[in-house]
Protein backbone atom coordinates (compact mmCIF):
# COMPACT_ATOMS: atom_id res chain seq x y z
CA UNK A 1 0.00 0.00 0.00
CA UNK A 2 1.77 3.11 -1.22
CA UNK A 3 0.06 6.30 -0.24
CA UNK A 4 0.87 9.85 -1.27
CA UNK A 5 -0.41 12.63 0.97
CA UNK A 6 -0.55 16.20 -0.22
CA UNK A 7 -0.07 18.74 2.54
CA UNK A 8 -0.13 22.48 2.93
CA UNK A 9 0.95 24.93 5.59
CA UNK A 10 -1.58 27.50 6.71
CA UNK A 11 -1.57 30.33 9.24
CA UNK A 12 -3.48 29.78 12.45
CA UNK A 13 -6.03 32.56 12.39
CA UNK A 14 -8.47 31.27 14.96
CA UNK A 15 -7.41 33.53 17.81
CA UNK A 16 -5.75 36.22 15.74
CA UNK A 17 -6.95 39.61 14.68
CA UNK A 18 -6.41 39.72 10.95
CA UNK A 19 -5.06 42.69 9.02
CA UNK A 20 -5.32 42.98 5.25
CA UNK A 21 -2.14 43.82 3.35
CA UNK A 22 -1.76 47.13 1.52
CA UNK A 23 -2.40 45.60 -1.89
CA UNK A 24 -5.61 44.23 -0.47
CA UNK A 25 -4.98 40.74 -1.75
CA UNK A 26 -3.68 38.95 1.29
CA UNK A 27 -3.55 39.16 5.06
CA UNK A 28 -0.51 40.14 7.12
CA UNK A 29 1.06 36.84 8.15
CA UNK A 30 4.13 38.09 10.01
CA UNK A 31 2.68 37.66 13.48
CA UNK A 32 0.72 34.52 12.69
CA UNK A 33 1.85 31.06 13.59
CA UNK A 34 1.72 28.56 10.78
CA UNK A 35 1.10 24.85 10.93
CA UNK A 36 -0.14 21.97 8.84
CA UNK A 37 -3.64 22.43 7.47
CA UNK A 38 -6.08 20.74 9.85
CA UNK A 39 -7.64 18.54 7.15
CA UNK A 40 -4.22 17.51 5.81
CA UNK A 41 -3.18 16.45 9.23
CA UNK A 42 -6.05 13.96 9.40
CA UNK A 43 -5.04 12.82 5.92
CA UNK A 44 -1.44 12.17 6.98
CA UNK A 45 -2.61 10.34 10.08
CA UNK A 46 -4.97 8.17 8.03
CA UNK A 47 -2.22 7.32 5.56
CA UNK A 48 0.14 6.35 8.36
CA UNK A 49 -2.47 4.24 10.08
CA UNK A 50 -3.13 2.35 6.86
CA UNK A 51 0.58 1.85 6.34
CA UNK A 52 1.02 0.60 9.89
CA UNK A 53 -1.77 -1.85 9.33
CA UNK A 54 -1.01 -2.99 5.81
CA UNK A 55 2.62 -2.17 5.18
CA UNK A 56 3.86 -0.09 2.29
CA UNK A 57 4.97 3.50 2.30
CA UNK A 58 3.74 7.02 2.82
CA UNK A 59 5.11 9.94 0.85
CA UNK A 60 4.25 13.47 1.89
CA UNK A 61 4.17 16.05 -0.86
CA UNK A 62 3.95 19.82 -0.66
CA UNK A 63 3.85 22.47 -3.33
CA UNK A 64 4.70 25.82 -1.85
CA UNK A 65 6.19 29.26 -2.44
CA UNK A 66 7.76 29.21 1.06
CA UNK A 67 10.43 27.26 2.86
CA UNK A 68 8.09 24.68 4.38
CA UNK A 69 10.63 22.11 5.39
CA UNK A 70 9.21 22.04 8.92
CA UNK A 71 5.81 21.07 7.54
CA UNK A 72 7.27 18.01 5.86
CA UNK A 73 9.50 17.20 8.82
CA UNK A 74 6.36 17.05 10.86
CA UNK A 75 4.82 14.61 8.40
CA UNK A 76 7.97 12.50 8.51
CA UNK A 77 7.89 12.57 12.30
CA UNK A 78 4.29 11.42 12.21
CA UNK A 79 5.48 8.38 10.28
CA UNK A 80 5.74 9.28 6.60
CA UNK A 81 8.66 7.53 4.94
CA UNK A 82 9.76 10.26 2.60
CA UNK A 83 8.85 13.76 1.65
CA UNK A 84 8.94 15.81 -1.50
CA UNK A 85 8.78 19.57 -1.51
CA UNK A 86 8.44 21.62 -4.63
CA UNK A 87 9.31 25.18 -3.76
CA UNK A 88 8.87 28.02 -6.17
CA UNK A 89 8.08 31.67 -5.60
CA UNK A 90 5.72 31.51 -8.54
CA UNK A 91 3.29 29.41 -6.54
CA UNK A 92 2.37 32.50 -4.55
CA UNK A 93 -1.19 33.37 -5.38
CA UNK A 94 -1.80 30.13 -7.25
CA UNK A 95 -5.31 28.79 -7.48
CA UNK A 96 -6.25 25.16 -6.93
CA UNK A 97 -5.80 24.40 -10.58
CA UNK A 98 -2.13 25.37 -10.57
CA UNK A 99 -1.44 23.53 -7.33
CA UNK A 100 -3.15 20.42 -8.67
CA UNK A 101 -1.13 20.70 -11.88
CA UNK A 102 2.12 20.79 -9.94
CA UNK A 103 1.03 17.93 -7.73
CA UNK A 104 0.08 15.96 -10.78
CA UNK A 105 3.55 16.43 -12.20
CA UNK A 106 5.12 15.06 -9.03
CA UNK A 107 2.74 12.18 -8.53
CA UNK A 108 2.31 10.90 -12.07
CA UNK A 109 5.75 9.26 -12.04
CA UNK A 110 5.45 7.79 -8.57
CA UNK A 111 3.94 4.41 -7.80
CA UNK A 112 0.83 4.82 -5.66
CA UNK A 113 -2.32 3.07 -4.60
CA UNK A 114 -3.96 6.02 -2.90
CA UNK A 115 -3.50 9.77 -2.92
CA UNK A 116 -4.88 11.70 0.05
CA UNK A 117 -5.52 15.38 0.38
CA UNK A 118 -7.49 17.25 2.98
CA UNK A 119 -11.04 18.11 1.99
CA UNK A 120 -10.08 21.76 1.96
CA UNK A 121 -7.56 24.21 3.36
CA UNK A 122 -8.14 26.36 6.40
CA UNK A 123 -7.04 29.47 4.53
CA UNK A 124 -8.73 29.60 1.11
CA UNK A 125 -11.25 26.81 1.65
CA UNK A 126 -11.58 25.99 -2.04
CA UNK A 127 -12.04 22.20 -1.61
CA UNK A 128 -10.82 21.67 -5.16
CA UNK A 129 -7.30 20.25 -5.27
CA UNK A 130 -8.20 16.60 -4.63
CA UNK A 131 -10.92 16.50 -7.25
CA UNK A 132 -8.88 18.27 -9.93
CA UNK A 133 -5.89 16.07 -9.18
CA UNK A 134 -8.00 12.94 -9.57
CA UNK A 135 -9.15 14.30 -12.91
CA UNK A 136 -5.56 14.84 -14.02
CA UNK A 137 -4.51 11.42 -12.80
CA UNK A 138 -7.60 9.87 -14.41
CA UNK A 139 -8.39 7.82 -11.33
CA UNK A 140 -11.62 7.57 -9.36
CA UNK A 141 -11.97 9.70 -6.26
CA UNK A 142 -14.10 10.35 -3.23
CA UNK A 143 -14.32 13.55 -1.21
CA UNK A 144 -15.34 14.19 2.40
CA UNK A 145 -14.09 10.77 3.42
CA UNK A 146 -14.70 9.82 7.05
CA UNK A 147 -13.85 6.13 6.95
CA UNK A 148 -11.65 3.96 4.76
CA UNK A 149 -11.54 0.22 4.46
CA UNK A 150 -8.99 -1.32 2.14
CA UNK A 151 -10.21 -4.41 0.29
CA UNK A 152 -8.65 -6.41 -2.49
CA UNK A 153 -7.46 -3.78 -5.02
CA UNK A 154 -10.25 -1.48 -3.99
CA UNK A 155 -11.27 0.73 -1.08
CA UNK A 156 -14.63 1.16 0.50
CA UNK A 157 -15.08 4.65 1.91
CA UNK A 158 -17.71 6.55 3.83
CA UNK A 159 -18.48 9.99 2.50
CA UNK A 160 -20.04 12.52 4.79
CA UNK A 161 -23.26 13.90 3.33
CA UNK A 162 -25.62 16.40 4.87
CA UNK A 163 -28.05 15.75 7.71
CA UNK A 164 -25.91 13.15 9.49
CA UNK A 165 -26.11 10.86 6.49
CA UNK A 166 -23.21 8.86 5.10
CA UNK A 167 -22.70 7.47 1.65
CA UNK A 168 -20.71 4.28 1.20
CA UNK A 169 -18.74 4.23 -2.04
CA UNK A 170 -16.32 1.72 -3.48
CA UNK A 171 -13.34 2.86 -5.54
CA UNK A 172 -10.95 0.77 -7.57
CA UNK A 173 -7.37 1.58 -6.75
CA UNK A 174 -5.46 3.64 -7.53
CA UNK A 175 -7.73 6.39 -6.26
CA UNK A 176 -7.79 9.82 -4.66
CA UNK A 177 -9.53 10.52 -1.37
CA UNK A 178 -10.02 13.89 0.26
CA UNK A 179 -10.07 13.38 3.97
CA UNK A 180 -12.56 14.92 6.36
CA UNK A 181 -11.65 15.89 9.92
CA UNK A 182 -12.69 13.50 12.65
CA UNK A 183 -11.79 10.42 10.59
CA UNK A 184 -9.16 9.65 13.25
CA UNK A 185 -7.25 11.32 16.04
CA UNK A 186 -4.00 12.66 14.65
CA UNK A 187 -1.05 11.75 16.78
CA UNK A 188 1.18 14.20 18.60
CA UNK A 189 4.50 14.96 16.99
CA UNK A 190 7.18 15.41 19.59
CA UNK A 191 10.26 17.54 19.29
CA UNK A 192 12.35 14.38 19.66
CA UNK A 193 10.30 12.78 16.92
CA UNK A 194 11.00 15.71 14.62
CA UNK A 195 14.69 15.54 15.42
CA UNK A 196 14.76 11.82 14.72
CA UNK A 197 12.88 12.31 11.46
CA UNK A 198 15.76 14.47 10.24
CA UNK A 199 17.36 11.24 9.05
CA UNK A 200 14.49 10.46 6.69
CA UNK A 201 14.60 11.22 3.01
CA UNK A 202 13.45 14.66 1.96
CA UNK A 203 13.66 15.78 -1.63
CA UNK A 204 13.44 19.41 -2.56
CA UNK A 205 12.64 20.04 -6.19
CA UNK A 206 12.03 23.12 -8.25
CA UNK A 207 9.50 23.61 -10.96
CA UNK A 208 11.95 22.97 -13.76
CA UNK A 209 12.71 19.56 -12.25
CA UNK A 210 9.05 18.80 -12.82
CA UNK A 211 9.11 20.11 -16.35
CA UNK A 212 6.53 22.73 -15.51
CA UNK A 213 6.41 25.69 -17.82
CA UNK A 214 5.80 29.27 -16.77
CA UNK A 215 2.42 29.24 -18.44
CA UNK A 216 1.40 26.50 -16.05
CA UNK A 217 2.49 28.40 -12.97
CA UNK A 218 1.68 31.27 -10.76
CA UNK A 219 -0.75 34.07 -10.81
CA UNK A 220 -0.83 34.23 -14.59
CA UNK A 221 -1.74 30.59 -14.87
CA UNK A 222 -4.42 30.74 -12.23
CA UNK A 223 -7.89 30.68 -13.61
CA UNK A 224 -9.38 32.13 -10.47
CA UNK A 225 -7.79 35.30 -9.15
CA UNK A 226 -8.25 37.25 -5.97
CA UNK A 227 -9.43 40.77 -6.65
CA UNK A 228 -9.52 41.98 -3.12
CA UNK A 229 -10.10 41.08 0.49
CA UNK A 230 -12.20 42.82 3.09
CA UNK A 231 -12.99 42.25 6.74
CA UNK A 232 -16.61 41.78 7.58
CA UNK A 233 -17.72 44.48 10.01
CA UNK A 234 -17.69 43.15 13.52
CA UNK A 235 -21.03 42.12 14.91
CA UNK A 236 -22.89 42.90 11.73
CA UNK A 237 -26.37 41.61 12.07
CA UNK A 238 -26.26 41.00 15.77
CA UNK A 239 -27.22 43.60 18.31
CA UNK A 240 -24.30 43.53 20.71
CA UNK A 241 -25.50 43.47 24.29
CA UNK A 242 -23.44 45.60 26.64
CA UNK A 243 -23.22 46.03 30.38
CA UNK A 244 -22.21 43.89 33.31
CA UNK A 245 -22.51 40.13 33.01
CA UNK A 246 -25.52 40.28 35.30
CA UNK A 247 -27.23 42.97 33.23
CA UNK A 248 -26.60 41.06 30.04
CA UNK A 249 -27.95 37.86 31.57
CA UNK A 250 -31.11 39.73 32.59
CA UNK A 251 -31.54 40.99 29.04
CA UNK A 252 -30.99 37.53 27.62
CA UNK A 253 -33.53 36.11 30.00
CA UNK A 254 -36.10 38.67 28.94
CA UNK A 255 -35.37 38.01 25.27
CA UNK A 256 -35.94 34.31 25.84
CA UNK A 257 -39.09 35.10 27.75
CA UNK A 258 -40.37 37.27 24.93
CA UNK A 259 -39.90 34.35 22.57
CA UNK A 260 -42.02 32.26 24.85
CA UNK A 261 -39.34 29.80 25.73
CA UNK A 262 -38.57 30.71 29.31
CA UNK A 263 -41.17 30.97 32.00
Amino acid sequence: MDIIVCVKKVPDTREAELIITKDGKDIEKGELVCDINEWDRYAVEEAIRLKEELGGSVTAVAVTPDEDEDLLRKCLAMGADRAIMVKDESFRGSDAHVIATALHHIIKDLPFDLVFTGVQAEDDGYAQVGGILAGFLKVPHATLVTQIEVLERKVQVHRELEEALMEVVELDMPAVCTIQTGINEPRYVSIMGIRKAAKKEMKTLNTSDLGLTEEELGDSASKVKIKGLSLPPSGKGAEILKGSTGEIATKVASILKSKGVLA
Binding site: Y126, A127, Q128, G135, L144, A238, T245
Partner: protein, 327 residues
Protein backbone atom coordinates in the same frame (compact mmCIF):
# COMPACT_ATOMS: atom_id res chain seq x y z
CA UNK B 1 -29.45 30.99 -27.03
CA UNK B 2 -27.21 31.92 -24.13
CA UNK B 3 -27.70 29.71 -21.18
CA UNK B 4 -27.25 29.55 -17.43
CA UNK B 5 -27.01 25.92 -16.43
CA UNK B 6 -27.99 24.68 -12.98
CA UNK B 7 -27.38 21.17 -11.74
CA UNK B 8 -30.43 19.88 -9.91
CA UNK B 9 -29.42 18.02 -6.79
CA UNK B 10 -31.66 15.34 -5.39
CA UNK B 11 -31.36 12.41 -3.08
CA UNK B 12 -33.69 9.55 -2.34
CA UNK B 13 -36.29 10.91 -4.70
CA UNK B 14 -36.40 14.41 -3.27
CA UNK B 15 -34.95 17.59 -4.72
CA UNK B 16 -32.61 19.23 -2.25
CA UNK B 17 -33.10 22.82 -1.03
CA UNK B 18 -29.86 23.91 -2.68
CA UNK B 19 -31.44 23.29 -6.08
CA UNK B 20 -34.14 25.89 -5.48
CA UNK B 21 -31.59 28.28 -4.09
CA UNK B 22 -29.45 27.93 -7.22
CA UNK B 23 -32.45 28.34 -9.48
CA UNK B 24 -33.24 31.53 -7.67
CA UNK B 25 -29.68 32.77 -8.21
CA UNK B 26 -29.70 31.44 -11.76
CA UNK B 27 -32.91 33.34 -12.55
CA UNK B 28 -31.30 36.59 -11.44
CA UNK B 29 -28.21 35.93 -13.59
CA UNK B 30 -30.29 34.79 -16.55
CA UNK B 31 -32.39 37.92 -16.48
CA UNK B 32 -29.32 40.13 -16.34
CA UNK B 33 -27.51 38.26 -19.08
CA UNK B 34 -30.67 37.75 -21.13
CA UNK B 35 -30.04 34.07 -21.04
CA UNK B 36 -32.14 30.97 -20.69
CA UNK B 37 -32.27 29.25 -17.32
CA UNK B 38 -31.70 25.59 -17.85
CA UNK B 39 -31.50 22.89 -15.22
CA UNK B 40 -30.00 19.48 -15.63
CA UNK B 41 -31.56 16.57 -13.83
CA UNK B 42 -29.53 13.38 -14.04
CA UNK B 43 -31.30 10.44 -12.43
CA UNK B 44 -33.47 7.42 -12.93
CA UNK B 45 -37.25 7.48 -12.87
CA UNK B 46 -37.29 11.12 -11.78
CA UNK B 47 -39.84 12.49 -14.22
CA UNK B 48 -41.87 13.94 -11.40
CA UNK B 49 -38.86 15.88 -10.18
CA UNK B 50 -38.39 17.24 -13.69
CA UNK B 51 -41.94 18.50 -13.62
CA UNK B 52 -41.33 20.15 -10.30
CA UNK B 53 -38.23 21.84 -11.68
CA UNK B 54 -40.01 23.08 -14.71
CA UNK B 55 -41.91 25.52 -12.53
CA UNK B 56 -38.74 27.51 -12.00
CA UNK B 57 -36.64 26.90 -15.08
CA UNK B 58 -37.00 27.62 -18.76
CA UNK B 59 -35.76 24.21 -19.67
CA UNK B 60 -35.28 21.00 -17.78
CA UNK B 61 -32.82 18.55 -19.27
CA UNK B 62 -33.77 15.16 -17.95
CA UNK B 63 -31.02 12.59 -18.29
CA UNK B 64 -32.40 9.24 -17.26
CA UNK B 65 -30.22 6.21 -16.85
CA UNK B 66 -30.30 3.38 -14.34
CA UNK B 67 -26.66 4.09 -13.59
CA UNK B 68 -27.65 7.61 -12.52
CA UNK B 69 -30.01 6.44 -9.83
CA UNK B 70 -27.68 7.58 -7.08
CA UNK B 71 -25.21 10.38 -7.26
CA UNK B 72 -21.86 9.38 -8.75
CA UNK B 73 -19.32 12.06 -9.46
CA UNK B 74 -17.89 10.10 -12.38
CA UNK B 75 -21.24 9.54 -14.08
CA UNK B 76 -22.46 13.07 -13.35
CA UNK B 77 -19.20 14.47 -14.71
CA UNK B 78 -19.74 12.70 -18.01
CA UNK B 79 -23.32 13.87 -18.23
CA UNK B 80 -22.41 17.47 -17.50
CA UNK B 81 -19.25 17.66 -19.58
CA UNK B 82 -21.12 16.34 -22.58
CA UNK B 83 -23.88 18.89 -22.08
CA UNK B 84 -21.53 21.79 -21.34
CA UNK B 85 -19.37 20.99 -24.34
CA UNK B 86 -22.31 20.95 -26.67
CA UNK B 87 -24.49 23.69 -25.10
CA UNK B 88 -21.69 26.06 -24.03
CA UNK B 89 -23.51 27.75 -21.11
CA UNK B 90 -22.03 30.99 -19.74
CA UNK B 91 -21.90 29.46 -16.32
CA UNK B 92 -22.77 26.21 -14.68
CA UNK B 93 -24.03 26.38 -11.10
CA UNK B 94 -23.53 23.48 -8.73
CA UNK B 95 -24.26 23.34 -5.04
CA UNK B 96 -21.28 23.49 -2.69
CA UNK B 97 -22.53 20.35 -1.06
CA UNK B 98 -21.18 16.87 -0.53
CA UNK B 99 -22.30 16.28 -4.07
CA UNK B 100 -20.86 19.46 -5.59
CA UNK B 101 -17.56 19.15 -3.77
CA UNK B 102 -17.19 15.67 -5.25
CA UNK B 103 -18.20 16.69 -8.72
CA UNK B 104 -17.17 20.24 -9.60
CA UNK B 105 -13.35 20.11 -9.38
CA UNK B 106 -13.02 17.04 -11.60
CA UNK B 107 -15.53 18.50 -14.04
CA UNK B 108 -13.65 21.78 -14.23
CA UNK B 109 -10.37 19.93 -14.76
CA UNK B 110 -11.88 17.82 -17.53
CA UNK B 111 -13.31 20.88 -19.29
CA UNK B 112 -10.31 23.09 -18.55
CA UNK B 113 -12.69 25.63 -17.09
CA UNK B 114 -12.25 28.00 -14.20
CA UNK B 115 -14.04 26.99 -11.04
CA UNK B 116 -15.05 29.23 -8.16
CA UNK B 117 -16.14 27.19 -5.20
CA UNK B 118 -18.18 27.94 -2.12
CA UNK B 119 -19.50 31.22 -3.42
CA UNK B 120 -21.84 33.42 -1.43
CA UNK B 121 -22.81 35.66 -4.29
CA UNK B 122 -22.05 35.99 -7.99
CA UNK B 123 -21.79 38.86 -10.44
CA UNK B 124 -21.61 38.08 -14.13
CA UNK B 125 -20.52 40.26 -17.02
CA UNK B 126 -19.84 39.30 -20.59
CA UNK B 127 -16.25 38.53 -19.81
CA UNK B 128 -15.94 37.91 -16.15
CA UNK B 129 -17.48 36.13 -13.23
CA UNK B 130 -16.93 37.80 -9.88
CA UNK B 131 -17.73 35.84 -6.76
CA UNK B 132 -17.70 36.67 -3.09
CA UNK B 133 -16.34 33.90 -0.89
CA UNK B 134 -15.22 33.63 2.68
CA UNK B 135 -11.70 32.65 3.59
CA UNK B 136 -9.79 32.08 6.85
CA UNK B 137 -12.70 30.34 8.45
CA UNK B 138 -15.10 33.15 7.56
CA UNK B 139 -12.99 35.90 9.08
CA UNK B 140 -12.20 37.51 5.74
CA UNK B 141 -14.34 38.14 2.67
CA UNK B 142 -12.64 37.61 -0.65
CA UNK B 143 -13.71 38.82 -4.03
CA UNK B 144 -12.45 36.45 -6.69
CA UNK B 145 -12.78 36.66 -10.43
CA UNK B 146 -12.36 34.42 -13.42
CA UNK B 147 -13.03 34.61 -17.10
CA UNK B 148 -16.36 33.34 -18.33
CA UNK B 149 -15.66 33.78 -21.99
CA UNK B 150 -15.20 30.09 -22.51
CA UNK B 151 -17.62 29.18 -19.78
CA UNK B 152 -17.08 28.72 -16.07
CA UNK B 153 -18.34 26.78 -13.11
CA UNK B 154 -19.30 28.01 -9.65
CA UNK B 155 -20.39 26.11 -6.59
CA UNK B 156 -22.82 27.89 -4.33
CA UNK B 157 -22.85 27.75 -0.57
CA UNK B 158 -26.05 26.29 0.79
CA UNK B 159 -28.42 28.60 2.56
CA UNK B 160 -27.12 31.95 1.32
CA UNK B 161 -29.66 32.56 -1.43
CA UNK B 162 -33.39 32.59 -0.74
CA UNK B 163 -35.41 30.37 -3.05
CA UNK B 164 -38.41 31.93 -4.82
CA UNK B 165 -40.75 29.38 -3.40
CA UNK B 166 -43.38 29.99 -6.13
CA UNK B 167 -43.81 29.22 -9.76
CA UNK B 168 -41.80 31.65 -11.86
CA UNK B 169 -41.43 29.72 -15.10
CA UNK B 170 -43.32 27.24 -17.14
CA UNK B 171 -40.41 25.44 -18.62
CA UNK B 172 -40.46 22.41 -20.79
CA UNK B 173 -38.87 19.10 -20.03
CA UNK B 174 -36.51 17.65 -22.57
CA UNK B 175 -35.32 14.10 -22.23
CA UNK B 176 -31.71 13.73 -23.17
CA UNK B 177 -29.97 10.51 -23.97
CA UNK B 178 -27.41 9.66 -21.38
CA UNK B 179 -23.83 9.57 -22.61
CA UNK B 180 -21.97 6.28 -22.74
CA UNK B 181 -20.80 6.60 -19.12
CA UNK B 182 -17.58 4.74 -19.80
CA UNK B 183 -15.37 3.69 -16.96
CA UNK B 184 -17.76 4.71 -14.24
CA UNK B 185 -17.67 1.23 -12.79
CA UNK B 186 -14.44 2.18 -11.08
CA UNK B 187 -16.57 4.16 -8.62
CA UNK B 188 -19.56 2.36 -7.16
CA UNK B 189 -22.30 3.59 -4.89
CA UNK B 190 -23.01 1.01 -2.22
CA UNK B 191 -25.51 2.43 0.22
CA UNK B 192 -26.56 5.24 2.53
CA UNK B 193 -25.83 4.92 6.22
CA UNK B 194 -27.44 6.98 8.98
CA UNK B 195 -24.96 8.21 11.54
CA UNK B 196 -25.58 6.61 14.89
CA UNK B 197 -27.96 8.74 16.87
CA UNK B 198 -27.85 8.61 20.63
CA UNK B 199 -30.78 9.17 22.95
CA UNK B 200 -31.13 12.84 22.05
CA UNK B 201 -33.02 14.43 19.24
CA UNK B 202 -31.85 18.01 19.05
CA UNK B 203 -34.24 18.78 16.22
CA UNK B 204 -37.18 18.61 18.63
CA UNK B 205 -35.79 21.07 21.18
CA UNK B 206 -37.30 24.49 21.83
CA UNK B 207 -34.11 25.86 23.30
CA UNK B 208 -30.69 24.76 22.21
CA UNK B 209 -27.52 25.62 24.05
CA UNK B 210 -24.73 24.88 21.62
CA UNK B 211 -21.05 24.80 22.39
CA UNK B 212 -18.00 25.12 20.17
CA UNK B 213 -14.25 25.24 20.46
CA UNK B 214 -14.54 28.01 23.02
CA UNK B 215 -15.57 25.48 25.65
CA UNK B 216 -11.85 24.59 25.66
CA UNK B 217 -12.00 21.37 27.57
CA UNK B 218 -14.21 18.34 27.85
CA UNK B 219 -14.32 19.02 31.56
CA UNK B 220 -16.15 22.27 30.93
CA UNK B 221 -19.02 20.63 29.10
CA UNK B 222 -21.00 20.00 32.31
CA UNK B 223 -21.10 23.78 32.83
CA UNK B 224 -22.93 24.20 29.53
CA UNK B 225 -25.05 21.16 30.24
CA UNK B 226 -26.17 22.70 33.51
CA UNK B 227 -27.05 25.92 31.75
CA UNK B 228 -29.06 24.01 29.17
CA UNK B 229 -30.83 22.19 31.97
CA UNK B 230 -31.58 25.40 33.83
CA UNK B 231 -33.09 26.87 30.67
CA UNK B 232 -35.06 23.70 30.00
CA UNK B 233 -33.10 23.24 26.80
CA UNK B 234 -30.95 20.70 25.03
CA UNK B 235 -27.19 20.66 24.58
CA UNK B 236 -25.81 20.69 21.06
CA UNK B 237 -22.44 21.45 19.55
CA UNK B 238 -20.42 22.34 16.51
CA UNK B 239 -18.31 19.91 14.55
CA UNK B 240 -14.96 20.24 16.41
CA UNK B 241 -16.59 19.00 19.60
CA UNK B 242 -17.67 15.83 17.80
CA UNK B 243 -14.29 15.51 16.09
CA UNK B 244 -12.70 15.55 19.51
CA UNK B 245 -15.25 12.93 20.59
CA UNK B 246 -16.37 15.08 23.50
CA UNK B 247 -20.01 14.64 22.49
CA UNK B 248 -21.67 12.07 20.25
CA UNK B 249 -22.53 12.88 16.67
CA UNK B 250 -26.20 13.17 17.56
CA UNK B 251 -25.46 16.53 19.19
CA UNK B 252 -23.89 18.08 16.13
CA UNK B 253 -25.55 21.00 14.42
CA UNK B 254 -24.54 21.83 10.87
CA UNK B 255 -24.28 20.48 7.38
CA UNK B 256 -22.84 17.18 8.41
CA UNK B 257 -24.94 17.09 11.54
CA UNK B 258 -28.50 18.13 12.14
CA UNK B 259 -30.38 21.15 10.93
CA UNK B 260 -32.30 22.66 13.80
CA UNK B 261 -34.93 25.34 14.12
CA UNK B 262 -35.49 25.84 17.81
CA UNK B 263 -37.29 28.88 19.20
CA UNK B 264 -34.01 30.00 20.73
CA UNK B 265 -30.46 29.08 19.90
CA UNK B 266 -27.67 30.07 22.26
CA UNK B 267 -24.22 29.65 20.68
CA UNK B 268 -21.43 29.51 23.24
CA UNK B 269 -17.88 29.86 21.98
CA UNK B 270 -18.88 28.97 18.42
CA UNK B 271 -17.01 31.08 15.88
CA UNK B 272 -19.55 30.31 13.19
CA UNK B 273 -18.09 28.25 10.38
CA UNK B 274 -20.67 28.19 7.61
CA UNK B 275 -21.11 24.44 7.96
CA UNK B 276 -22.47 25.20 11.40
CA UNK B 277 -24.44 28.31 10.51
CA UNK B 278 -26.36 26.48 7.84
CA UNK B 279 -27.65 24.12 10.46
CA UNK B 280 -29.05 26.76 12.82
CA UNK B 281 -29.62 30.01 10.97
CA UNK B 282 -33.37 29.51 10.84
CA UNK B 283 -33.72 29.39 14.60
CA UNK B 284 -36.27 31.75 16.19
CA UNK B 285 -33.78 33.89 18.02
CA UNK B 286 -30.02 33.41 17.96
CA UNK B 287 -27.89 34.61 20.83
CA UNK B 288 -24.15 34.24 20.39
CA UNK B 289 -21.48 34.50 23.07
CA UNK B 290 -17.93 34.82 21.84
CA UNK B 291 -14.71 36.48 22.93
CA UNK B 292 -13.87 37.53 19.39
CA UNK B 293 -16.03 40.48 18.28
CA UNK B 294 -15.26 39.56 14.67
CA UNK B 295 -16.47 35.99 14.96
CA UNK B 296 -18.70 35.20 11.95
CA UNK B 297 -21.39 33.87 14.28
CA UNK B 298 -22.34 37.48 15.03
CA UNK B 299 -23.42 37.86 11.43
CA UNK B 300 -26.31 35.49 11.84
CA UNK B 301 -27.00 36.11 15.49
CA UNK B 302 -29.79 38.39 16.57
CA UNK B 303 -27.97 39.26 19.76
CA UNK B 304 -24.27 39.12 20.39
CA UNK B 305 -22.38 39.08 23.67
CA UNK B 306 -18.67 39.71 23.50
CA UNK B 307 -17.28 38.16 26.65
CA UNK B 308 -15.77 35.08 28.18
CA UNK B 309 -18.38 32.38 28.13
CA UNK B 310 -17.21 31.03 31.47
CA UNK B 311 -18.13 34.34 33.05
CA UNK B 312 -21.45 34.38 31.32
CA UNK B 313 -22.72 30.82 31.67
CA UNK B 314 -23.04 30.68 35.47
CA UNK B 315 -24.72 34.10 35.64
CA UNK B 316 -27.29 33.20 33.02
CA UNK B 317 -27.85 29.88 34.73
CA UNK B 318 -28.68 31.64 37.98
CA UNK B 319 -30.94 34.10 36.18
CA UNK B 320 -32.79 31.24 34.52
CA UNK B 321 -33.18 29.37 37.81
CA UNK B 322 -34.54 32.53 39.40
CA UNK B 323 -37.12 33.05 36.67
CA UNK B 324 -38.27 29.47 36.68
CA UNK B 325 -38.60 29.46 40.44
CA UNK B 326 -40.71 32.60 40.34
CA UNK B 327 -42.96 30.84 37.94
Amino acid sequence: MREILVLAEHRKGVLRDITWEMLSLGKELAEKMEAQLTTVLPGYEVKSLADELSTQADLVLLVEDERLQNFSSMAYQQVLSTLITTRKPIITLIGHTACGIDLAPGLAAALGMPLATDCLSLTLTEKELTAVRQIYGGKVNAEVACSCEKGCIATIRAGVVSPWGEETRKGKVEVIQSPSLEGISRQRFIEYVEAAIGGVDITQADIIVAIGRGIQDKENIPLAEELAKALGGTLACSRPIVDKKWLPKAHQVGTSGKTVRPKAYIALGISGAFQHIVGMKDSGVIIAVNKDPRAPIFEVADYGIVCDLFDFMPVLKEKAKELLQRR
